[in-house]
């Protein structure tokens, strides 16, 4: 079930009302687990079986880790959890990629006919809940938390529907206790939840889905467009994917607040970053911190030699790219970020004086420019398309009038102007949040904020693209 669907519009009030009415925490937990599974299996019932199996294995493995007396036994149970989760992930997500890679290699080397297979249908949210569950067992192994004995409570942690399908990837220490003892719902919490959801829906429906109409045609046939058109469209894709994903997170956070739960902040206005390192502290925070805590630190982090540290950073980014998709384009995207984060670190280390505002501005242009170019690899439909794009970037002239003509041929002026206006609204709003321009004003809560919310509500229906597009990160 998707947030931007009529089914969810009926689902949420029903679930919330019954949850509110139920007298005990235990019954509330049972109800939420049941409804989370309904939410998850709305389209494909067998998704629920996989979720249930991995949940049970991890729940039991964590208890055994906790109760085991020897390090070997603890490690064995941890391995069971990790292997189960990674096997599910690899099985569904990477089998076709690896198999087809072998087929291509054998065709290239021995000339044998290819034996490629179709990509398997990936259960929605698999990448997210396997990581969330693995993080839990690793935390238990590291003695950071105790294993949850109550199976239902653990099942709720894994399957809590607002964040099940596309994160944030929560930690048990943060989410577990909140689910056990949810916060009391006040009018202010209710209003805050509504505002979050409204902003999330606006980013998804009005901005992301509208930009998708401009982005998709260019990336379907990149050979027909000039370099500048591809880059401009690439920038729109930067905004699209941010709004799509952070929109989902905002909606998830808003929905979770209705149930007395505060999810972790997953996005801190990453498009306002002035460096790659800052970007990765603000972008998809739950996933970045997961890779840092469970992969980078496990590889040794910065406790080894400088060379090993660089290797650890690069591998972390590479695997992060692979997490996003089973394809060379995603690996290339991850590798680009890894390489340039390292380069940026070296440059920053050698610089003696403190950034002033002008260098901050240059840093912003650098970040947006690099992120746009790197995301071309992320968005390209295939490695062949990426090659076409790279050739275009290198060899063709960058003529603004040609780009404008191409974009205008694809779309009327109105959709283009609308897209630019929405991008402007996004940046102005986020800057206002970042710099807290209006928060200290006298009439902020009583006038400015309600007026803004009402305007958002109107704009949502006036310019929103209600074609029921799924969230981009569902494919991961």
């Amino acid at each position: 079930m998707q947030f931007n669907s009529l089914a969810f519009l009926g689902f949420l009030p029903l679930v919330w009302l019954i949850w509110k009415w139920l007298p005990t925490t235990e019954r509330k937990t049972m109800w939420l687990v049941l409804m989370s599974y309904v939410f998850y299996t709305w389209v494909q019932p067998w998704y629920g079986i996989l979720l249930l199996v991995t949940t049970l294995i991890d729940w039991y493995a964590a208890i055994r880790i906790d109760t085991s007396t020897t390090p070997q036994k603890r490690r064995t149970w941890l391995m069971l959890s990790i292997i189960t989760n990674l096997a599910c992930l690899a099985g569904f997500k990477y089998t076709a990629f690896l198999w087809n890679g072998i087929s291509d290699l054998m065709t290239a080397v021995q000339g044998t006919p290819d034996f490629k297979i179709q990509n398997w249908l990936i259960p929605a949210g698999l990448s997210f809940y396997t990581f969330q569950s693995m993080g839990y067992t690793i935390d238990v192994y590291r003695n950071q938390i105790s294993a949850e004995r109550n199976a239902l409570q653990f099942a709720l942690f894994v399957s809590f529907f607002p964040q099940l399908v596309a994160g944030p990837v929560e930690r048990y220490s943060h989410l577990g206790n909140q689910l056990r003892v949810p916060k009391a719902l006040t009018v202010e919490t209710f209003a805050a939840a509504g505002r979050l959801m409204l902003w999330g829906f606006f980013k998804k429906i009005a901005i992301a889905d509208r930009l998708a109409l401009l982005v998709d045609p260019v990336f379907e046939l990149p050979d027909q467009y000039s370099a500048l058109t591809i880059v401009l469209t690439g920038f729109m894709f930067v905004v699209q994917v941010y709004c799509d994903f952070s929109g989902y997170s905002d909606i998830a956070s808003g929905v979770a607040r209705l149930f007395g739960v505060e999810l972790m902040i997953n996005w801190k206005r990453p498009l306002l970053s002035c460096s790659l390192q800052e970007f990765w502290k603000r972008n998809h925070i739950s996933m970045t911190s997961w890779f840092r805590d469970y992969l980078y630190i496990s590889l040794g982090g910065n406790r080894r030699s400088a060379l090993r540290n660089r290797f650890n950073i690069f591998i972390t980014f590479l695997l992060s790219g692979l997490w996003h998709g089973a394809g060379l384009t995603f690996i290339i995207w991850g590798a680009l970020h890894g390489a340039f984060v390292l380069i940026e670190r070296e440059i920053m280390r050698r610089r003696k004086r403190i950034l002033n505002r002008w260098i901050s501005m240059a840093g912003w242009f650098w970040l947006i420019g690099f992120h746009t170019l790197a995301l071309l690899a992320f968005r390209a439909n295939s490695i062949q398309d990426l090659q076409i794009i790279v050739n275009k970037l290198i060899s063709t002239t960058w003529n603004p009038s040609v780009a404008f003509g191409e974009l205008h041929r694809l779309h009327d002026s109105f959709p283009l102007l609308l897209a630019l206006s929405l991008i402007l609204i996004l940046f102005v709003y986020e800057l206002a949040q970042e710099k807290q321009w209006l928060r200290n004003r006298t009439y902020y809560a009583s006038l400015i904020r309600p007026a803004f919310c009402i305007s958002l509500f109107l704009l949502l229906f006036l310019v929103g693209e209600f074609g029921n597009k799924s969230f981009i990160y569902f494919q991961f």
């Binding site: 009018v187 209710f190 209003a191 509504g194 509208r210 009327d412 109105f414 959709p415 609308l418 309600p450 919310c453 009402i454 509500f457 109107l458 229906f461 006036l462 310019v463 929103g464 693209e465 209600f466």
Partner: protein, 317 residues
Amino acid sequence: MRKLILYSGIALALVWLIRELEYRMIHHSNVPEFVKLRKTFLDSNSTDILIIGSSRAACQFNPEIIESTTGYRVWNAGMTGATLPFFRTTLEAYLENNTSPKSVLLNIDLHSFNDNNDTVFDYPRYFPYLENNALYNGLLRQDPHFKLYKWIAPYALAQGNTRLLNIALRSFQMDDDCNSLTCRHGFEMSQYKGRIGDLDTILYTTQAPAPSQTLLSELDAIVTRCKQEKIQLIFVITPLYKKLHTSLKNYNLRVEEIRRIATQSHTQFIDCSGHEVSANKQMYTDAAHLNRQGADLFSQHFADLLREALKQNSFAQ
């Protein structure tokens, strides 16, 4: 809590207000497609001959040529994507605000009897005109969602997309050409959209379907209404490009069926399926739609036939 309810109420009221404002602005728009919709469904304009059909009617009958030959005022109310139920809706909606024309030309397509009649093609374009009760009721018969579109403003705005907003904003522009044939007579020049296929590679091996009872009853409703209003109804079949014509396996059988229905209902029938224009690729945009040149040529021939047919108007005697 009271503030929350108040602000929510204000937001909903504003959504409704903005929708009404958007529609009022669309009513003043000079964009030809919407001028045609307004003139068909809202305005009062006298016409002697009303043309009803799908895009083939809209782009193949040039009212100017028909007017100059017959001497009668002609309005082309053909709507792209219209199906048989919508032909009936168009007639009833037109008669809601206008006196009865002398004659109605009903352009029947061979696919009129197989369309998925639960859907209305490009349905948001009709939203600003639902104050026409006959239009609203006719669309509601086809698609029950029209009740939501009419009464729930956020739902209608969400469906309408930015296209209606664009048209509304353009109503401030005075440079749109409202002297075009579309604005004056409802004629829409066909544009290649690749739906039917290009003229050399078209390969239809399907059969034109038999008319279902539901669709026949719609046709019957049109016949009945015309008799009640003393309107001379004429069924017309316009020429397809010959390759499409010959590849539809039971084309002639279907034409004969329409002839039979016309005879049974005492309705005149003009069969132009074999017109010479169908053999000429240069006259077509795609296999089912004449281009401007083809439409003018066909309209002149048709106007001559129509002039004779109009003399047989039993209501005029």
